[in-house]
């Protein structure tokens, strides 16, 4: 009978404790609180700019009903919401607002005479009025307090989360917390087992949140309790204690890498639908891109034929340029030494190896596009075969430094009429080149000027079809008739190298109208002779190897596609490519004699509308397949 009464009483007590815990957070009128951390924690560039992407973590705190959702909206692009389950805080007096001995629902862990446990008025931000302070003046042992007698009910092997806000002053060893499992010891008594220990903090620091996820790793577990404190001497404040049945901490993580000025609005809502107000706002600015688009390289003669004012345009669309960082240097000995003559107009003065200030127009920090100028520079002689080069550099307001490519004074350049140019690497012409419409690359574009002023930079690489791709889609085994260029439309295949020469160009080839032909060359293509096709005809070469144009050739008339290199040689003859070239790499080393480079391009690419109109007949067609249901 006595045992029955004892068991009944014990059961009632357990039930009372359970319902006390379960019903603790019925009323919650306090809104949650969000906090945010950035990584990097502060701008890693100049003038408040980040020059790397930022990793954000938004954490929600609610000591009562728990976090229901964390919400954020970046640049008003749309609300993002992350929801959480089972975030009800199961801890009694989690913010230490209720006093006691030392605090309501909390007891000293040991009969500790070497530390003082008090309710303190220094509370963690937005977490009530009070915190719990442990002030230990001696001893290296644990000075802690716990909620063992008000433990949180939990099931065996349950996943739980915990968190505590901690502030410290001169903590000699460590401040942290421990999670203990409460389990049935088998004789009607509770027993305890240390389950997990939180990360530790030491020294002196402002309020920070420590978190710990754990598993209630005992088959007879009844619940868990938390023991807060420090080893050794020092003072530590604790606030906002939370233990929940959620398997994840109420936080969300994301990265922002887009360049520009940003505004991040964020707030939390708890399970009682209290919304955090006002919503928090975090502003920041990112610029990961160096000044680029070095274009409009211009030589303005100043006196004799080897003295020029050199200017170039550069752009930084995000933070803008820092005009004080604009500099230049040049070389008159084919790139062996770089610097400037102390007297720019006198090659007999001392040569300084370094960078010299360039002027900027406009001359104001933050400008997005500026023209840098050197003033008059004497390049010592007009022997342009001894390459003379110049380069510029400039930083933006965020501290990203960009550098132009090396510009060749009176060097060879190319021109694209009506055609666009794109590189899956970059465009870095040695001398200012021209394109009528669009210049683009997967990174930077330097020293090519678009008449239309259209540029694509840092653009995703465009897909390329190789020889094998084309052949798989549009095969042919038809050999070239008599081993010569075709005179009738169709697809042809050559399983060796092929040379365009006098004896492989059929008589009257350039007069054949409405010819639409594709020639596959499973080898190298060598073009040793000028040739043209009729203005209404289109000839496309698809080459497995390299394409080499002989030095003496001045006109070729086809569209060339090659897996290898398009090499125009290194002669002084101007080359006109009537059509276009798609290649893996280019070797464009032709350079005109004397001062011809200053007025004429060494290579001209003349894109023709006839290729889409006429040349497609052998290499095209795309199909869409729509599937409908049954009847």
């Amino acid at each position: 009978m006595r045992k029955f009464l004892f068991a009944s009483t014990t059961c009632l007590l357990i039930l009372a404790v359970y319902f006390q815990r379960s019903s603790r957070a019925v009323t919650d009128t306090n809104p949650p609180v969000s906090s945010i951390t950035l990584l990097p924690s502060s701008p890693d560039g100049l003038n408040g700019w980040y020059i790397t992407p930022i990793d954000f973590t938004i954490t929600g705190d609610d000591l009562e009903s728990g976090i229901k959702s964390i919400n954020y909206n970046l640049d008003s692009t749309g609300l993002q919401t992350k929801t959480f389950n089972d975030t009800l805080n199961l801890v009694s007096n989690p913010s230490f607002e209720s006093p006691g001995t030392p605090l309501d629902s909390w007891d000293k862990t040991n009969d500790d005479t070497q530390a003082i446990f008090t309710q303190d008025s220094q509370a963690a931000p937005s977490l009530g009025t009070y915190s719990a302070k442990v002030d230990a003046t001696q001893g290296s042992a644990w000075h802690g307090f716990n909620n063992k007698n008000f433990y949180v009910v939990a099931s065996p092997y349950q996943n739980m989360t915990s968190s505590v806000w901690v502030m410290a002053s001169n903590v000699a060893l460590s401040a942290y917390y421990k999670i203990y499992i409460v389990y049935d010891g088998g004789d009607g008594q509770n027993a305890y087992q240390l389950e997990a220990t939180s990360p530790v903090v030491t020294g002196t620091f402002a309020w920070q949140k420590i978190t710990l996820n754990f598993v209630v790793n005992h088959p007879n577990a009844l619940g868990v309790y938390i023991d807060l404190g420090l080893d050794g001497t020092g003072a530590a404040w604790f606030d906002g204690v939370s233990i929940t049945s959620s398997i994840t901490q109420p936080s969300t993580n994301f990265a922002v890498s887009a360049n520009g000025n940003h505004s991040l609005e964020y707030y939390s809502i708890d399970n009682a639908n209290n919304e955090e107000t006002p919503h928090k706002i975090q502003t920041f600015k990112i610029d990961t891109k160096v000044p680029s688009k070095w274009t409009n390289f211009t030589l303005t003669r100043q006196g004799n034929d080897h003295t020029f004012n050199v200017s170039v345009k550069v752009t930084d669309t995000t933070s803008g340029v820092d005009v004080s960082t604009a500099e230049f240097q040049y070389s008159v000995d084919e790139g062996v030494t770089w610097g400037y003559y102390s007297n720019l107009l006198n090659c007999g003065s001392s040569f300084v190896q370094g960078w010299k200030q360039a002027s900027s127009n406009p001359n104001s920090d933050g400008s997005t596009t500026v023209t840098l100028s050197t003033g008059a520079i004497n390049f010592c002689n007009s022997n342009w075969t001894d390459t003379k080069m110049i380069r510029f550099r400039l930083a933006d307001m965020a501290g990203n430094q960009g550098e132009s490519g090396d510009f060749t004074i009176n060097g060879a350049w190319i021109e694209l009429e009506y055609g666009d140019v794109f590189s899956n690497s970059s465009i870095a012409m040695k001398s200012n080149s021209k394109v009528r419409y669009l210049a683009g690359s997967a990174s930077t574009v330097a020293n090519i000027t678009s008449t239309a002023n259209w540029y694509l930079t840092d653009y995703e690489p465009l897909p390329f079809m190789t020889f094998d791709d084309w052949y798989a889609r549009y095969p042919s085994t038809t050999p070239l008739p008599n081993g010569k260029l075709p005179t009738t439309s169709g697809k042809y295949y050559v399983n060796t190298d092929f040379t365009v020469a006098s004896n492989t160009i059929p008589s009257g080839f350039s007069t054949i109208a409405n010819l639409s032909a594709v020639v596959y060359i499973n080898g190298d293509l060598n073009v040793n002779k000028d040739y043209n096709v009729h203005t209404a005809s289109a000839l496309i070469f698809i080459v497995k190897g390299d394409i080499t144009v002989a030095n003496n050739v001045s006109t070729v008339d086809s569209f060339y596609i090659t897996d290898g290199t398009f090499d125009v040689g290194a002669s002084t003859t101007q080359l006109t490519v009537d059509g276009g070239v798609h290649a893996d790499t280019f070797n464009l080393k032709r350079s005109l004699t004397g001062s011809q480079n200053s007025t004429k391009p060494a290579v001209i690419f003349k894109y023709r509308g006839k290729y889409p109109a006429v040349g497609k007949k052998q290499l095209s067609s795309e199909s869409k397949i729509l599937w409908l249901g049954d009847n």
């Binding site: 794109f422 870095a428 259209w454 798609h582 509308g609 109109a613 006429v614 497609k616 007949k617 869409k624």
Partner: protein, 263 residues
Amino acid sequence: MTIALAVGITISSRSISTARRTTNIDTSSRALAAAEASIEYYLARPVSEMNGLAPANCNVNPATLRYPAIATSSLSSDDVMTYSEVNITRYGCLSGGQNAKYDIRKDGVLELKLNSSSGSLDICWESPPGGPEATLYYHYIYEPNANDFRIKKEGYNPVGSGRQSENNMQYANPGNCFTRALPGTDNPRLLRIMSLYAPSTITMTAGAGTTLQYQGFTIKAAGVVAAATQPIKRNVTATRSLPYLPALFNFAVYSNSSNNPID
């Protein structure tokens, strides 16, 4: 005994039912295969042949073709005859005020055959929500004199995108729209529209008095299993555009290397 018979009947019913379901599945698969085979066949036919099979104009009921054409070749090894009934029509014809929609994948091209149309085309576009908006960049190819092919190019950024600071192209009109004039004296031939930065869906509206020719073929195939106890038809539809060169042909110079610049 009675129970055994009942079980036997149940098993038999289930077997028959299973067999019937198996048969229906087999019939359905055969019909689908026949439809697909005919689609594949006509997708590979030369444009000249397709032109002969489709009615001269859009929106005209086509004749029904049978594929395979020869009856005996429709017989399978188990003497089940399957074939496909095929209708081929043209799509894309527009006259003043009419519109058509086309999808363009990112960095892909839509090529419209203008075939000397005159007037204008109003072009509007949108990109899938949640991602960036496309910028449209077109090549307008015309032939004012015989064999004299010329090009005009234009690019339009989406309204309010701020992208002009990146590529210096102009912004479109409200609604992400612009108009491409088609002067008769140009003898317009092609309009190649490239979708930069993102995929797009284009709505093309012919201006008043503008007529646009067909842009491709629609192939509708209904696979049939003859003499099936429960006749099943499986329908497949495919569209096949008129030939065009890939988007990369918009570039006069293109370098594929990711390591070596054009210099």
